[in-house]
């Protein structure tokens, strides 16, 4: 009971809740910004109305989503100081810089140009208005890059020294923080997962409309774009996950041993499909394994030695003194599996969809469909029956949240797998909390944020559903005749704005 209400425990819960919640919106924001920008580019280049309608439809969902991403991000900027003041004092010299870069370079970019994009339909010439959404997209990517560089430093601190006199870490090489392989691999992995997420979102919603034979031209295009994004994003997520895993085997062997519930080192090491462990005794009761695969995942060959939890714990005790350096093994083990499982399930669905809806490749000419028709789902030579077709659409709709689950577990795995460290090998989590903040205060803020976030989640999802169901908007005269001058055409001074709050 005492431990359960310790400020450290509460602060960790709060960080977990607010960060996982924030990250529900981040990948969608990153991918939908780029996808919306892509659709708007298609409109500007081809002047086909379906692209503009698609831009407005997905842009709307993007805006509903980014609003939540932005406001929940504010908490992240201040939470370190509030709950983790000893962390802030110890690492601020290193960790603060990427945060400041993120704010000054990325946040200003995103939030200024999003204002221009939302209100700019009748104020900016077509191409400048298009440039604004691309700026937003660049802003989202830059923002993710800087914050991942900061997180990578917690995973694998580089470019710093410990100043004994001041009792803190000090930056010695900022470029090392920005360019170390942990950063690059985490960025690669998070970006591809973001597009996997956005792809699945687009496919699910397009499937919903196509199943009901509504808004076909726009949704056909969206389905195609979503499937390609999902497949490419999924492929890169898998590749980057593999390289990031190998980096982690070098940098945090404990995390990866826990991810496999590999208690004792093995040569060659098997990949665990299912395990049920007895944490106190330090071994698994039940285990279902694929021989040699883990050696491959860690070191790209089927023979090499992979150290286990118990060995690594002993090695860490020798290095850092007595203590328990194990994370909560079941969380790491299952988190790892859920991340991969949900992510790859979405990826498979995308690959399948890409094949089923192919346009020409190995597709009998009779089954090709026009712009106004729902595409046939063709497995081999004949289209699927009505029932199976409906199943595919339903599956796409129901699983559009899978990548969100995968993303959440990915972060839970990588952060909890690093415990007991907050900065690996440098600072333990228990030494990072704010000593002056009381249990009551942390409890208050945790309850406040959790309640507020829950209410906002309900509001947000209801709004999304409403706008998804409404489908792409009809275009107006004003939409088709964008202004030619910055500031808008001033002929009719009393003309209502194209968009107003």
């Amino acid at each position: 009971m005492e431990l359960a209400l310790a400020p450290e425990t509460l602060a960790r819960w709060q960080f977990g809740i607010t960060t996982v919640y924030h990250f529900l919106f981040v990948p969608l924001t990153i991918s939908l910004a780029a996808l919306t920008a892509g659709l708007q580019t298609a409109w500007v280049r081809t002047e086909k109305e379906k692209y503009l309608r698609a831009t407005k439809f997905w842009g709307k969902l993007f805006l509903i989503n980014i609003a939540m991403g932005v406001v929940t991000g504010i908490v992240q900027e201040f939470q370190f100081g509030m709950n983790w003041s000893d962390y802030s004092r110890f690492v601020g010299d290193v960790f603060g810089a990427p945060l400041a870069f993120e704010a000054l370079i990325a946040f200003f970019f995103e939030s200024t140009f999003i204002g221009l994009w939302i209100f700019g339909w009748d104020k900016l010439p077509k191409r400048i208005h298009l440039a604004c959404i691309w700026m937003v997209s660049i802003g989202t990517l830059l923002s993710a890059y800087f914050i991942l560089a900061a997180n990578s430093w917690m995973q694998h601190p580089v470019g710093y020294r410990i100043n004994e006199e001041k009792g803190r870490a000090e930056l010695t090489d900022f470029w090392a923080v920005l360019s170390q392989n942990t950063t690059l691999n985490q960025v690669f992995h998070s970006f591809s997962a973001a597009f996997l997420t956005g792809g699945a979102f687009m496919v699910g919603i397009a499937a919903f409309h196509l199943m009901r034979k509504k808004h076909i031209p726009v949704m056909r295009t969206s389905l195609r774009l979503g499937l390609v994004t999902l497949a490419v994003g999924g492929l890169f997520t898998a590749i980057s996950g593999d390289t990031l895993g190998k980096v982690m085997y070098e940098q945090q062997p404990m995390k990866m041993a826990a991810a496999e519930a590999l208690w004792d080192g093995e040569k060659p090491a098997p990949f665990s499909v299912f395990a049920y462990g007895d944490v106190d005794k330090g071994h698994n009761k039940v285990a279902l394994e694929i021989p040699g695969l883990l050696s491959f995942l860690a070191h790209s060959d089927f023979e090499s030695y992979v150290p286990g939890i118990n060995d690594t714990n002993e090695a860490l005790q020798e290095q850092f003194g007595p203590g328990d350096y194990k994370p909560i093994v079941p969380v790491a083990y299952w988190g790892f599996r859920w991340m991969i499982g949900f992510g790859m399930a979405s990826f498979s669905l995308g690959l399948l969809g890409l094949w089923l809806t192919r346009k020409k490749f190995l597709l009998p000419a009779a089954h090709r469909t026009g712009e106004e028709e729902v595409p046939h789902l063709v497995l081999l030579k004949k289209p699927l029956g009505a029932k199976l077709t409906r199943w595919y659409w339903l599956l796409a709709l129901w699983t559009m949240g899978f990548p969100l689950i995968a993303n959440s577990w990915g972060w839970i795995f990588t952060e909890m797998g690093r415990q007991p460290w907050v900065v690996y090998g440098v600072l333990q989590t228990r030494d990072a909390v704010s000593p002056g903040v009381s249990t009551a205060e942390v409890l208050t803020s945790m309850i406040a944020f959790t309640t507020l976030y829950a209410v906002l989640a309900v509001i947000e999802v209801k709004l999304l559903v409403k706008y998804v169901k409404a489908g792409p908007p009809e275009l107006t005269e004003a939409d088709l005749n964008p202004p030619t001058k910055i500031g808008g055409d001033l002929r009719d001074a009393d003309k209502p704005m194209a968009f107003s709050y």
Partner: protein, 341 residues
């Protein structure tokens, strides 16, 4: 001037930018109750800041991030110490951002009214609380040897800091009123002028009291100059508002904010958070700052990025330079999803 002094100035600049910009958009939020007679007028007000409030708010995030990087000890003590007021500010900013974005997303009157209520309160509370926070920073708080805040929430609610809160609240409202005068047409513009005089007078009295109190307790020659500038610009802003010179009124109310923030930081220096328990335990630009290397990198960032930010943010204001009135807001067209953009 050493780098940590430069960063003291830059942090002051970031807060100044934040209060200048979000100052008027907090003010506009408050005016939805004080100035607007009906719901179309409320919408006119909200739309004067529609395209820009989000960018304005980033000045706060940048001030936070830059404080973390340049003065980690300050960041740690301030935000862990002022825990509950900051929590309240964060909650307000979360709701406020969502409120602007979601209000028109449904046509139901109740839905829209709820968000309008939210916009009023979540603009008013931070406008007040930031003043309370800065009042306490300047006055000093209970900080121990370990640089930890050891006071209570009650300690933060002292008369001086509360007066500071009233000053920011009224000053931001005034700033918002002259901004509305500058950005609207029609009847609301006329009424904004009348209200500016009343709010401006209240602000002048409160600000004068607060600034003199600060000057007597902690002031020096330089801060006295800032006081003079603040008072002079506020009075001139009032005169300009009365004469219908809206551009001047806004510039001068902005200058008042600049002078007030400058005054506070001048009296603070070289401390960043004085301790009332023992002057040796105060956080200063030296003991709270980052290493020279980090400050150097941060300085490069500021030198390169800030002008660019000012340029494109300024451009946004130019794009949306047209005044708006009720005629520019289509009645229900945007409430229904079919016509929404």
């Amino acid at each position: 001037m050493e780098l940590h002094d430069v960063w003291f100035v830059l942090i002051a600049v970031l807060w100044t930018g934040y209060f200048f910009l979000e100052g008027f958009d907090f003010g506009v939020g408050i005016l939805t109750r004080l100035l607007a007679r009906d719901r179309p007028e409320k919408r006119v007000l909200i739309n004067t800041i529609g395209p820009v409030w989000d960018g304005n708010e980033v000045w706060l995030l940048t001030a936070g991030g830059a404080t973390f990087a340049a003065f980690p000890e300050w960041y740690a003590t301030l935000f862990s110490g002022f825990y509950l007021p900051l929590l309240l500010i964060l909650i307000c900013l979360i709701i406020r951002g969502v409120a602007f974005e979601y209000r028109v997303k449904r046509p139901e009157e109740r839905w829209q009214r709820n968000w309008e209520t939210a916009i009023f309160w979540t603009s008013l509370l931070p406008a007040f609380l930031w003043g309370v926070a800065f009042g306490n920073i300047v006055r000093g708080v209970k900080i121990d040897r370990e640089l930890e805040y050891v006071g209570t929430v009650g300690d933060l609610l002292n008369p001086y800091a509360l007066l500071g809160g009233l000053v920011t609240l009224s000053l931001f409202t005034f700033h918002g009123t002259v901004f509305v005068g500058l950005k609207t047409v029609g009847e609301i513009r006329e009424r904004a002028r009348g209200l500016a005089l009343r709010v401006g007078l209240v602000t002048a009295v409160l600000a004068l009291l607060f600034l003199l109190w600060t000057q007597v307790e902690n002031g020096d020659g330089a801060s006295l100059v800032a006081v003079a500038v603040a008072v002079a610009s506020l009075v001139t802003a009032l005169a300009a508002a009365r004469a219908g010179r809206e551009g001047w009124a806004f510039t001068l109310s902005g200058l008042t904010i600049v002078a007030v923030v400058a005054m506070l930081f001048l009296t603070l220096f070289p401390n960043v958070m004085p301790s009332t328990l023992n002057p040796d335990w105060s956080l200063t630009v030296t003991n709270a700052s980052s290493s020279a290397y980090t400050l150097k990198i941060m300085t490069w960032l500021a030198v390169v990025a800030t002008p660019v930010v000012l340029l494109y943010q300024g451009w946004t204001y130019w794009v949306f330079r047209k005044r708006i009135g009720t005629q520019h807001i289509a009645p229900d067209a945007h409430a229904a999803p079919q016509a929404a953009h």
